[in-house]
């Protein structure tokens, strides 16, 4: 048996994975009855449905043909996702200036055409704009500088 529709196969695996996590973590929720539903009723219903859909996708992938999955560009994805999370870590203790600088430089670096001078200028421009618009003009409660 050969898997021919790879995109379908991996989608099915992904959906089954989510369903498995949902079923596993919903095991403690009270089900109740249809007339008096507990917190576990609807989620379990959905999770089982999702698992069935995922399984169908997997089963179908040996029959149908499909395109191969194109290469995953892991590095840009990882750097940008990490930059976003880092922004969340830095924003409260270190304020907008430092966290925006880190975010912009990291995101710019993730692209193929990184130029340091240009990225620094872009970061400076974004910081000036954000402080001006978000903090001063709109009065959003954001720290500008480190508070520690």
């Amino acid at each position: 048996m050969r898997i021919r529709a790879l995109k379908d196969f991996w989608s099915g695996v992904m959906f089954c994975g989510f369903a498995a996590v949902a079923i596993f973590s919903a095991r403690g929720y009270a089900l109740g009855t249809a007339g008096k539903m507990g917190p576990g009723y609807f989620p379990l219903l959905l999770a089982v449905l999702l698992a069935a859909l995922g399984a169908t996708l997997i089963a179908r992938s040996v029959v149908l043909t499909g395109e191969p999955v194109s290469r995953f560009h892991v590095l840009p994805l990882a750097v940008i996702a990490a930059a976003v999370c880092l922004f969340g870590v830095l924003i409260e203790p270190l304020g907008l200036v430092v966290s925006l600088a880190a975010l912009t430089l990291m995101s710019a670096w993730a692209g193929a055409q990184f130029r340091l001078a240009e990225a620094l200028a872009l970061a400076a421009a974004l910081i000036v704009f954000s402080v001006g618009v978000f903090v001063y003009a709109l009065g959003l409660p954001l720290n500008i500088w480190p508070t520690v």
Binding site: L46, L103, T104, G111, L122
Partner: protein
């Protein structure tokens, strides 16, 4: 006349200096992001949600709505001049629009796109004003069973009209529904799917989720593609189409508007589907000689009218039923809820100023857009020269600041990081994100209505089949599924959506 007095009230709201200014900012931003490839209305509306906190709800909605329909105008500029769609809904405009630009007819192409959009915008706004009140009156009588079945029908329709694999789209809906249930269950107070994280007690932040998928994941996906943009050099020339062009296009604009207006109301519809369908229809029915693919001006007029009509009428289900037809509408529902307004049929009766003010502002906004797009076309052409490597870090930065300021919660950034990865994987596997977003918004509402309906019927699921309106929705949903599964229709659908 009721409509006229209501519209009078609407214009009284829309024509305050403050709201004219917000409408202008909205359509201006919409045009900008429409012109720029790689950033769409969903991300922009999400970025502006925290700002709209500080506004009156009327102004907030006028501003955010302007972004959506403004983007339809801007998208055509990029499509015609660069052969890259500025928005997904202007993909088909590239076919004939860019050919026209190569033949030195960029001006008339841009002109007919703007004029067609303007006509479609005005006609569709009128349709909202006429169709929304009776629809809301009907919707007021809906009980939980009707609402549940309506949502099922809406989600199925959204899936059927989405591009790509039907099965994957349904799975994305179900996954979205599940993600929508994360957080504290309103009925029992039980915390669901929080994995021991207090940050998930209030559920997954919608803004963070949608910016992660439509903003960040899209950017990473775009970074892989080497874009070789070549702007058609030289002067754009006279933008006003000649009389013979206008005569040639009149029928196309009318057909595009009508088709777009109908498709916009359907869940999953809106601007994207409308433009594809209108182009396909035009290729079949336009009077010969047809030169589609080689710079036929009707190939610009029809889809550009249709996408604007569809963008406008997709407000109808959002305003009357509180049910979003596409991710941008889901975002507007979020904006209403931030202001403590429960979306649904009561908005029109409880807050007529908000409802009619929004409609009146659309007329105003469409007028501003024609002015913005025709005489100022040179400005937008210059904007296209901003390279993507400068643009995308800025988008990421604004997404992050926006996601944080919604709740001042650093945890939301971790949510965004996680779903950025998920969104990228989903894009790679051809799983369309729109059904997931719709499911996410409808998840809690569906559970609530299912629970209430079955509580009233004492657990008898037959209640969904016994109420006539509910039955009608379910039959419609089943019919859609059966029809789409039929091989002949399946091929046709693939043809229409992929052309």
């Amino acid at each position: 006349m009721d409509v006229i007095s209501n519209l009078g009230l609407g214009f009284a709201v829309a024509l305050t200096i403050q709201n004219i200014a917000y409408c202008f900012i909205g359509v201006l931003l919409g045009t900008i992001i429409g012109v720029l490839p790689g950033i769409g209305p969903v991300t922009t509306v999400a970025m502006l949600l925290p700002i709209s906190f500080t506004l009156q709800p009327e102004s907030a909605l006028i501003l955010l709505a302007g972004i959506y329909y403004g983007a339809q105008y801007g998208g055509s500029t990029t499509a015609i001049l660069v052969n890259i769609p500025g928005e997904a809904s202007s993909v088909v405009t590239t076919i004939d629009g860019h050919q026209m630009a190569r033949q030195g007819r960029a001006g008339p192409a841009l002109g007919i796109a703007a004029l067609g959009s303007f006509f479609a915008g005005c006609a569709a706004t009128l349709l909202i004003a006429l169709a929304a009140p009776p629809l809301a009156t009907i919707a007021l009588q809906f009980g939980p069973a009707e609402y549940f079945s309506l949502m099922v029908c809406g989600l199925i329709a959204a899936v059927v009209l989405a591009r790509g694999s039907l099965l994957k789209a349904i799975a994305m809906v179900v996954l979205g529904l599940l993600l929508g249930l994360v957080g504290t269950d309103v009925n029992s107070g039980a915390r669901r799917f929080n994995f021991g994280m207090t940050g998930l007690a209030d559920g997954i932040e919608f803004v963070a989720l949608s910016m992660a998928i439509y903003g960040i994941a899209e950017i990473v996906y775009n970074l892989e593609k080497q874009q070789t943009a070549s702007i058609v050099a030289g002067a754009v020339g006279r933008v006003w189409p000649s009389v013979s062009d206008l005569k040639r296009c009149a029928g196309s604009i009318l057909r595009g508007t009508a088709l777009g207006a109908i498709l916009g109301v359907l869940p999953g519809g809106g601007a994207l589907l409308a433009s594809f369908a209108a182009y396909t229809l035009e290729k079949k029915v336009a009077t010969p000689p047809r030169q589609f693919g080689y710079g036929d001006i009707r190939g610009v007029a029809a889809p550009e009218s249709a996408n604007n009509a569809g963008a406008q009428t997709s407000f109808i289900p959002m305003l009357t039923l509180g049910i979003p037809g596409n991710p941008t509408m889901a975002m507007l529902i979020g904006a209403l809820m931030i202001h403590g307004i429960a979306p649904g049929p009561r908005v029109m009766t409880d807050r007529p100023g908000l409802f009619w003010g929004l409609i009146a502002s659309m007329w105003l906004g469409n007028l501003m857009l024609v002015v913005l797009n025709l005489p100022m076309i040179g400005v937008w052409v210059r904007l296209l020269r901003v390279p993507y490597r400068l643009l995308y870090p800025a988008i990421i930065a604004f997404c992050c600041v926006g996601a944080y300021t919604i709740n001042n919660k650093p945890f939301d950034l971790f949510v965004m990081g996680f779903f950025a990865i998920f969104g990228y994987v989903a894009l790679k596997l051809d799983c369309e994100p729109a059904p997931l977003i719709l499911g996410f918004v409808l998840g809690p509402m569906m559970e609530e209505n299912l629970r209430r309906a079955l509580l009233i019927s004492r657990g008898d699921p037959m209640v969904f089949l016994q109420e006539p309106i509910s039955l009608a929705f379910l039959v419609a949903a089943a019919a859609l599924l059966i029809v789409i599964a039929a091989p002949a229709v399946r091929l046709k659908r693939a043809e229409v959506l992929n052309e």
